[in-house]
């Protein structure tokens, strides 16, 4: 293959269509690039609220799982884009057909019909395409991806995710999110994983083998549930205040805490258009604590159905992961509640809640044998 670096692209004539004919067949066309220059592994955590990727080229990126398309020609010209993602989409949502394709922990499109379903499907595909693009893959490298999908994803969900990913990667696998978290931390034996997302909280029991359906419990008591609780509590306490669920979510992400002696949460909300300060400490604590009892109840079920000889050990090895694990004091609060309700417990928050799932998926991708990847192409 010759290097034609002396020819600047600007100098190329209009008549050039096939580079092979121009260079005596020595150059390789873009379409013919051989993927023999390396292997890029991607670990993707496809979440309701955020989608994250970690890659074997060192790139780590996260984007809020929002997708927006300009509503009309005017907004398209104004935004200068055909599609917007993440916080940018959220910021401009009034000018966009706005989608949150993974609301409630599943791809909204895959089990529905009609234009809305079709657009959600497109939004999900675009989101997956965007997160892969953010990983900066090279065109001459094989791309192998493991995607942590919601534990309760239906076959239609999985098909939609795979279809979207296959547009960009060479081979792709799906795995359950809590499993990828545990695998990433090499904690595969006698461990309980709590993965708090926005749409769902997945509880998973690891016992040295691949977890089965009976080892997993999915709850809807997750980030969105806390948002709704906080929204309702604020409405009840301060009926004069004006706010949206998006504002509540933003406030929660900044101040979420369950501690008895947490910092005062003081926020400004408009009242008849005038910014007014409210102390929402109690509402914040109550809303954030609302997910603890159902989580501990779920843990109790997984513990109770485990070998009695190892139940105590299981209680003492509980991993807290997912975006929801960033609620201040949540690990200690669940530990305390477990001790009261289950007679013991110890919860450890993982070091990188945002990337726990993606890191695990990357590790799975790395460890997967070559022939498995080949067969899945």
């Amino acid at each position: 293959m010759s290097d034609s670096s002396s020819v600047a692209p600007e100098e190329l004539g209009e008549g050039i269509v096939d580079t092979n004919t121009q260079s005596g067949g020595e150059q390789q066309t873009f379409e013919e690039v051989k993927k023999d220059q390396g292997v890029l592994y991607l670990g993707i955590d496809l979440g309701t609220s955020r989608t994250s990727v970690t890659a074997s080229n060192g790139v780590r990126e996260t984007v809020a799982s929002y997708v927006g398309y300009p509503k009309d020609v005017v907004s398209r010209k104004l935004l200068k884009r055909d599609v917007l993602f993440g916080s940018e989409a959220l910021k401009n949502r009034l000018a966009l057909d706005f989608y949150r394709p993974l609301e409630h922990g599943v791809l909204k499109s895959s089990d529905g019909d009609g234009r809305e379903a079709e657009m959600n499907q497109k939004a999900a595909a675009d989101l997956i395409g965007e997160i892969i693009r953010l990983a900066k893959p090279r065109k001459d490298e094989l791309i192998y991806a493991v995607i942590g999908a919601p534990a309760q994803a239906s076959i239609n969900n999985k098909e939609a995710i795979l279809d979207a990913a296959k547009k960009t990667v060479d081979s792709v696998m799906l795995c359950s999110e809590p499993f990828s978290v545990a695998y990433g931390l090499d904690m595969l034996d006698d461990v309980l994983v709590i993965d708090i997302g926005a749409g769902t909280t997945d509880l998973c029991r690891m016992h040295g083998t691949m977890p089965e359906d009976t080892d997993q419990i999915t709850l809807t008591h997750a980030g969105d549930y806390v948002d709704q609780q906080l929204h309702d509590l604020l409405k009840a306490s301060y009926p004069q205040a004006q706010f949206t669920i998006h504002m509540v979510k933003d406030i929660k992400e900044r101040f979420a805490s369950v501690g008895d002696f947490m910092d005062i949460v003081s926020v400004e909300l408009p009242v008849d258009g005038k910014p007014t300060t409210f102390d929402i400490t109690n509402e914040m604590r109550e809303a954030c604590r609302s997910i603890i009892p159902p989580i501990v109840e779920g843990l109790g079920k997984l513990i109770a159905t485990f070998d009695p000889e190892f139940q105590d050990r299981l209680k003492e090895r509980v991993l807290l992961a997912g975006g929801g694990s960033q609620i201040k004091g949540l690990d200690a609060a669940i530990t305390q509640y477990m001790q009261e309700a289950l007679g013991g417990g110890k919860v450890i928050r993982i070091e990188e809640p945002m990337y726990g799932g993606a890191n695990g998926a990357l590790k799975i991708a790395h460890d997967m044998p070559a022939d498995y990847w080949e067969q899945l192409k």
Binding site: V17, T19, Q37, M187
Partner: protein
């Protein structure tokens, strides 16, 4: 479901989970810059230590710093040579692809414009023709109806004269014959209208198909335009597929889990292939 395993390193007592999490978490930073530097430092230290006794700390620091800079510079400078396609060739291909797509787009747009004009003419013709047909059918119908009535009258003329009661039957026969005749005419008219409609629909389908091709081409063009900046991406640290190393912690159980995960994905793949 299996019961608790005995293969864990944390067999008895109260395990320091935080330490485990921290330790294992660090393993995940496969390409972390600091880890790379730490590895370089360690390698330099070992290399120097194995050949030289009592190297002073400052000199050792200088050597490690030089090694770090050297490796980073080498990685940067050699990055082009490990790419599948030189940047200029890549750009050249991008531009060729763009020109090809532009031509394709223009051709499609022109074709679609012609098709839309043809459809417009056909629709107008159809509306006119429809009115014309309806008018012709009505006019012809009146003549045909009159001829039919005359024929029936002729047939019944003598009979009614002999038996006046047959006048009622004549009326019935006339009504039924006229109705039958009108229905046949309507069928004929409908079939002509259907023929026109199917031609228009065919045009519309072809336009929709062209429009879709145009949209795809536009999308490709946008993609090519976005590539103009030519971000070649960031190279992976791996040249080949890795796989689980034998020295990995819990290698055997991990291998089993990976196999189960693979089987589940293969099953899913086959299931989806079967349903398509």
């Amino acid at each position: 479901m299996t019961t608790g395993s005995t293969s864990t390193p944390q067999g008895k007592g109260s395990p320091d989970l935080k330490a485990i999490v921290r330790k294992q978490g660090q393993k995940l930073n496969l390409v972390d810059r600091n880890n790379l530097f730490a590895s370089i430092d360690q390698a330099v230290l070992e290399a120097v230590g194995s050949h030289v006794d009592g190297v002073d700390e400052a000199l050792l620091q200088k050597i490690t710093l030089a090694a770090r800079q050297g490796i980073v510079a080498r990685l940067k400078s050699s990055s082009k040579s490990i790419r599948g396609v030189p940047q200029s060739a890549f750009l050249k291909d991008v531009m060729a692809a763009r020109r090809h797509l532009t031509k394709e787009r223009d051709k499609l747009a022109q074709e679609m414009e012609m098709m839309q004009a043809a459809l417009h003419v056909r629709r107008e013709n159809f509306a006119e023709r429809h009115q014309e047909l309806a008018r012709e059918t009505q006019e012809q119908g009146m003549v045909q109806d009159q001829a039919l009535v005359d024929q029936i009258n002729m047939i019944f003329a003598g009979l009614v004269a002999q038996n006046p009661e047959l006048a009622a039957i004549q009326d019935q026969v006339t009504s039924l014959a006229l109705l039958g005749m009108q229905q046949e005419r309507q069928k004929l008219l409908d079939s002509k209208v259907d023929e026109h409609k199917s031609q228009v629909e065919q045009f519309e389908r072809r336009i929709a198909k062209l429009s879709q091709s145009l949209e795809t081409t536009e999308g490709e063009l946008k993609r090519i335009a976005a590539m103009k900046g030519v971000d070649d991406g960031v190279a992976s640290i791996y040249r080949t597929v890795q796989g689980l190393s034998d020295g990995s912690d819990n290698a055997e159980s991990k291998r089993e889990m990976l196999a189960v995960l693979f089987e589940a994905n293969m099953e899913l793949k086959n299931q989806l292939a079967g349903s398509r």
